[in-house]
Amino acid sequence: MTDTTDFEAKRDIAEIAVERYKQGRLTRRGFIAAMGALGVLPAFGHRAMAQTKEIIVVNWGGTAKDVLQEVLCDTYTAETGIKVTVDGSGPSAGKIRAMVESGAVVWDLCDSGAGSAIILEQQGMTEAIDYSIVDKSKVLEGTAYNNGVGNYVYSYVLATNPQLLGGNIPQTWEDVWNVKDFPGMRTFRKSVRGQLESATQARGVPLAEVYDALSTEDGIKASIAKFRELRENIIVWGSGSDSQNLFLQEEVAIGNIWSTRAHLLKDQMEEGTFNVSFNGGVIAPGIWVVPKGNPAGKDEVMKFIAHGQKPELQVQWLEKIGSGPINPAAAELVPAELAPYNPSSPQNLAMQILYNDEWYAKNQVSAEELYVDALIN
């Protein structure tokens, strides 16, 4: 099985947080809370018994790591006496495995993905999540694995610029493929992640049956063919900031982009020039994993995870960074004006499909090859 964790998406979310923080949209306190909820930081826990221990939480780095260290970990240390260190070195499945196998585990909690979580569980590299401490009902259905549990979500959404489209916005992915009624450039990711699902819906496949339709080679080829059909109207985005720039510079009118970037764009674009729809979107969770034999002890980490599930923390996360609460109950606390941008609100959830890591593990590499071919050949 191939590791399907979307590391780029994770780095992107941390990057967004830093951007918001720099813009002054995020106060220090908010930043800390948001990062905590994001899982980039450990949730707060009390470790009365193990005062001398240190908790190491590993995320995907960037400037976020330094700011986190300064803002959250040091203040946490001041409050509880427990030292918390954020390590931004990127807890890839390979690194976690190497660490566990060498017997020198120094990480307590890692921000991983479903693909990695499944592989690591099969290889016996992670601790089982203790669902007597961590509440299964407080995470999105389908994101509670034996050895991993959801910590936040982000979506692939349909973003549009109504002004460029003359007010006529595509409502479905079938519309996106209709160049005649909706002229303009489209942007898709330079990878099939979250994109092939759109093309499959454009074939007329109902959302719930997307991965069934993609279960055969012919099905994959039929969806890839949709990209070939549309390619004269496609500009691809490589990084999250690419997709943001394409909308800001009015290079594209329509796009399949991350909801986290859409969250930034809604504030940056002028009124009436940006719209987001979760209809036919793909929702992807970040997943906590605990390396086997983590130094701070399994129970302590479970308490952190449980704390991070609190709706009030989860909401801040959406407010500050734009990634969605893993706890659907948090939707009630979301301010009305932000609700349309919440990937895990009941309304938006009903319109989306959960990212299928098993499908990607099996098919991604061959699909990518076909995708590139469809775009350039």
Binding site: I235, E250, E251, E368, E369, V372, I376
Partner: protein
């Protein structure tokens, strides 16, 4: 014996540069060749996979096409510039040469981003044309091959101008004058007397631009919109997105071999030795 010693001392002078080349170029390249044949398993699996991939074939076609068009564009524009500088400019010559070299002071990345500002849908060029009411809707000047070509010709131009300039400045004016005094028209004397003398400069400029363009990465990646996927970008894609070092290395091996083949073929038609080594 003294002769040998002299030779040895010459080699001693070359040694530092040679050592740097061996340590930081030749050895890593050999490492890449090794990866190409050993990852994920020993054998020619990567090359078989590559040969069976339409995407790779297309990418090679795009790479060679873009490099060829860039070369032709640079030669035409560069020839005019070099000709003007070496034959007409007088007091302005230093300034003009400086203007040719100036772009080297700005990174390729910045120059490519500048083209984005210029060529974008709401970029300067489109805005100006729209305001002048010459066009009704923005032209698609980038995120396609056109944009890549415009920017690549700009970036590569000095590499074409400089060899031609050196060559032309070494050509004595008396030959053309002699042709003219014997009754040749201005065009004939240029075509039959002047132009043949500039061929070494043209060819070395062409080779330089072509070979550099084959491996070019930044500009196509920024201005191609993902649809002008040159081999160097494809290699990055394989390694960064899929951690597929084997295929990525195999691709670079093929690119290197293909480039060498181009030089060999070129050598059949032009005297490379005369072009590159014994230029007067």
């Amino acid at each position: 014996m003294p002769r040998v010693n002299e030779k040895v001392s010459y080699w001693m002078l070359v040694l530092p540069a040679l050592a740097i080349m061996v340590c930081f170029y030749i050895l890593p390249v050999l490492g890449i060749w090794e990866i190409a044949f050993t990852e994920p398993e020993t054998g020619v699996g990567n090359f078989v996979k590559m040969a069976g991939s339409n995407a790779v074939k297309t990418s090679f076609v795009i790479t060679f096409r873009v490099a060829a068009i860039t070369t032709v564009g640079c030669l035409i524009l560069g020839y005019i510039v070099a000709y003007a500088i070496s034959n007409f400019a007088t007091r302005l010559t230093p300034l003009m040469v400086a203007l040719v070299i100036l772009p080297f002071w700005v990174s390729v990345l910045i120059r490519s981003f500048s083209w984005i500002v210029l060529l974008g849908r709401s970029g300067l060029v489109n805005d100006a044309l729209m305001h002048a009411e010459l066009i009704e809707r923005p032209l698609r000047l980038m995120h396609n091959e056109l944009g890549v070509l415009i920017a690549m010709i700009h970036v590569m131009l000095p590499f074409a101008v400089l060899p031609m300039l050196t060559n032309m400045r070494g050509i004595s004016g008396v030959y053309v004058q002699a042709a003219r005094s014997l009754g040749a028209s201005e065009w004939t004397s240029f075509r039959q007397v002047y132009f043949p003398q500039t061929m070494p400069g043209v060819l070395s400029g062409a080779l330089l631009v072509f070979v550099l363009s084959l491996g070019f990465f930044v500009t196509p990646a920024l201005l191609g919109g993902g649809r002008v996927l040159m081999i160097s970008e494809y290699i990055t894609y394989q390694i960064q997105e899929f951690l597929n070092w084997g295929l990525g290395s195999a691709l670079s091996v093929v690119l290197l071999v293909a480039t060498a083949l181009v030089l060999l073929i070129a050598a059949r038609f032009v005297n490379l030795r005369a072009t590159l080594l014994e230029r007067k």
